[in-house]
Symmetry: C2
Subunit: 103 residues, 2 copies
């Protein structure tokens, strides 16, 4: 049973690291959405268009390069950004609906 115990210990150790990373991610995602909500409010208040293709192209290029340096698949980094942006759009649409309701 010695080997099995060692395996279980190693597995639990890796899972603790995964849980720690996920905790950090949740808090950073919360902070990121706080920023994008402020961007959305600012753009709406000053009549700026919600989408900015140049900014998005810059973000994709930047994250792909960062991923490459961090030995993360650059395609996955781009998928991560698209995943987050979908949620940001959902927030902005919710704000838009709320504004429309309020007149």
């Amino acid at each position: 049973m010695k080997l099995a115990d060692e395996v279980v210990d190693t597995l639990n150790d890796l899972r603790q690291s995964i849980d720690n990373i996920d905790s950090a991610m949740i808090h950073m995602l919360s902070e990121r959405f706080r920023c994008t909500k402020r961007v959305g409010t600012l753009k709406a208040a000053h009549g700026l268009p919600p989408a900015d293709p140049d900014r998005e192209a810059y973000q994709i290029d930047r994250l792909r390069k960062l991923a490459d340096q961090a030995r993360l698949d650059p395609d996955f980094a781009e998928k991560y950004l698209a995943f987050i942006v979908r949620e940001v759009i959902r927030h902005h649409e919710a704000v838009g609906r709320s504004t429309a309701i309020q007149g």
Copy 2:
């Protein structure tokens, strides 16, 4: 143009925060996949099943509670986990194919 300059400054400031957060996320995602790759290798070496429903239920429950504390939508936290797990499965399948090719 005073107001416009202030708006642009605020927008650039928020975007700098978003870029900083994304940089941290990319590096943490890379580290998270290093952990799950080790988990996958360990499980394969010791004939453990790749999926663990109890572990997954624990992760979902934990992340939803954390999200609630961090004022992040718990449904989004669960979507985040599902998004990551899909990529982990893709990695494990790739390792499985590679092992099969090597005999």
